[in-house]
Subunit: 348 residues, 2 copies
């Protein structure tokens, strides 16, 4: 990274979404008198009789969770999307000012493990591999449906990120429409492909590997980097080493390697502030619409909120909501912190 | 609003930013076992000797705050932007993949009142009018500079929204670049203007006034609505009744009316859950670049996080960060709640 950028306010361009982030590296000395969060604590119980995601327990909707032993998928009892939602389109103002459209879809919960006290960081690689297999099956099943054009798989980890239950689980929201974040990543990748006859994220991965300064973990099939344009303090993106549009296209080895790098990233996070690290993470496979997507490269995003300690987070508020995202520590220094943290992962 | 949309999942289009929001009105019954916030409390002290924004006190940077009696503006001691930041542009990868640019600007803090215990909701309309005058002067002064192309004025209110100090204050971040949120609102307004020879937000304001169902406050010069495409549960937009691009173009009466509607909106918010209502708010005047902006209409946004109670907020996390913003209560029902709340504002 050029020296001016390490010490002076600058902005960086995200070519995937074609948005800028403001970087203020000189601002890290700012005192903090604002809100502090309660420190996340380890979950001690391996089975919690009051947890509706633990095997055999009753859920709020009145359904009983099965006696599962590995992973477990069920329809979200309070789904944001429903398969039978009516299709309609209305524009009361007739000029696109009051435009609404019916939206249908499917929301599922994916329990990662019957154990209440585990997180991806604490699960073994074979256990995470079972989760990767479920994601892949779900993507295949839902992606094949005519009424589904995107399958968004994600995890909200930690109370700070809105998780309503500490039991290790993620979600999927599959929709008829392609959500806007994906639409914008699609446009960025499509234009790059048209201009360079190569994949934006494949080229980016090679560039990051050759430079090394933002790489935080890697194995035979994947590289994890703090993106050059990261918005969240310790944001990470996982990129495949070869061109692969979605989970279904993973080889056997890639499924295991993906499980392994997910473990590396999450275990590293827990070492940064010696606390279970909250985050939202999600997979971005290609849309499952009627088109081929040679321009698309599969990737995963991690968006963790902590900034300075286990209790001080980054707030995305006034300027961020009204102007542009802003960060203090540079992506390069965040990557260095993560690399150091990874050395502290206990070897078992 | 058409009946299907009141009960079924649908998406709504934001023509200003050209983005969609997913609305799941059937989901309000969802039980909440996730994080609850500590309830914001009223500030009792009118002067706090440890507050660096109270008159005469020493700030973290070592400078002393003046003995001010009305409003007070000073350069942010830990500014995210600096006027003398070096201009540079670098693209290590040469394909726009590692693109950074030097960014300069000015960050100021604007104390609304010497009284530590006041908020916009508790200040009198003439006191808020003094704040509007300062905003207007600041916009004029900074907007005239050749190295400033946007003046983003905002307030983060409440610890939940990252405010580092309860003393009533806002900020301005003025930058050489036009921030992305403004760039996208500019594009939306420009295209509408080209197509219809009228202003998107002027037409929208007329439509909302004629329908009434999303209007929450109004006076001779302004209307406050929960936008049709609101993302935050009780999001509000303030729109002028005539076409006016920025604060400098306000008449005397409009300045007072703007102060008055700011008071109405903030006082209404405090009644919703009978708690000081956290929010980020900001003004969107036209950019102050080398162009005229006939397509632009001045407006203000309020983004408050609370959803169900004084302690349960909306989390913008997994699906929101990776897919699209999502809300449960409809904008129409939020507007109805706000109208009811406004009836409870104590008359003094
Ligand atoms: O400048 P402050 O009030 O210390 O900081 C607050 O507002 C800024 C502008 O929205 C944000 O970047 C910070 O994350 C937030 O804590
Ligand atoms: O579905 P959950 O886990 O109850 O809810 C959580 O994740 C959703 C998807 O990101 C968000 O819309 C909610 O605000 C959040 O609390």
């Amino acid at each position: 990274m050029i020296p001016q950028a390490q010490q002076n306010p600058h902005r960086r361009f995200n070519p995937l979404k074609r948005e800028w982030v403001l970087v203020s590296p000189h601002r890290t000395q700012r005192p903090w008198q604002g809100q502090t969060e309660s420190k996340s604590t380890e979950v001690a119980l391996s089975y919690d009789p009051t947890c509706y995601l633990c095997p055999g327990n009753l859920r709020a909707g009145g359904v009983r969770t099965d006696q599962y032993t590995s992973t477990y998928v069920f329809e979200n009892d309070f789904a944001a999307l429903k398969p039978d939602a009516p299709q309609f389109s209305s524009d009361e103002g007739d000029r696109g000012l009051l435009l609404a459209e019916g939206e249908s879809g499917i929301c599922r919960v994916i329990c990662f493990s019957p154990r209440h006290d585990l997180t991806l960081a604490k699960m073994s690689v074979p256990e995470i591999r079972a989760v990767v297999d479920v994601w892949s099956e779900q993507y295949a099943e839902l992606g094949a449906r005519e009424d589904i054009h995107y399958v968004q798989i994600f995890e909200n980890r930690g109370a700070m990120m809105g998780a309503s239950n500490p039991h290790p689980h993620g979600q999927l929201w599959a929709s008829r429409s392609i959500p806007d974040e994906v639409v914008s990543e699609l446009a960025g990748q499509r234009d790059y492909f048209a201009e360079h006859q190569s994949n934006l994220l494949c080229e980016y991965q090679k560039l990051e590997e050759s430079l090394g300064e933002r790489v935080v973990a890697q194995n035979a099939s994947f590289v994890a980097v703090v993106p050059f344009w990261a918005v969240w303090p310790f944001e990470v993106m996982i990129l495949p080493r070869r061109h692969v549009t979605d989970l279904q296209a993973f080889t056997e080895a890639e499924r295991s390697d993906f499980a392994s790098i997910l473990h590396s990233v999450t275990a590293t996070y827990d070492q940064v502030f010696d606390t279970p690290f909250p985050y939202s993470m999600g997979l971005h496979p290609a849309p499952c619409d009627e088109h081929e997507h040679p321009e698309w490269q599969f990737h995963a995003h991690f968006f963790p909120p902590l900034l300075r300690s286990a209790t001080i987070r980054k707030f995305m508020v006034g300027y961020e909501l009204l102007g542009s995202p802003q960060r203090d520590i540079t992506p390069e220094s965040a990557a260095e912190t993560l690399r150091q943290a990874s050395l502290r992962i206990p070897r078992i």
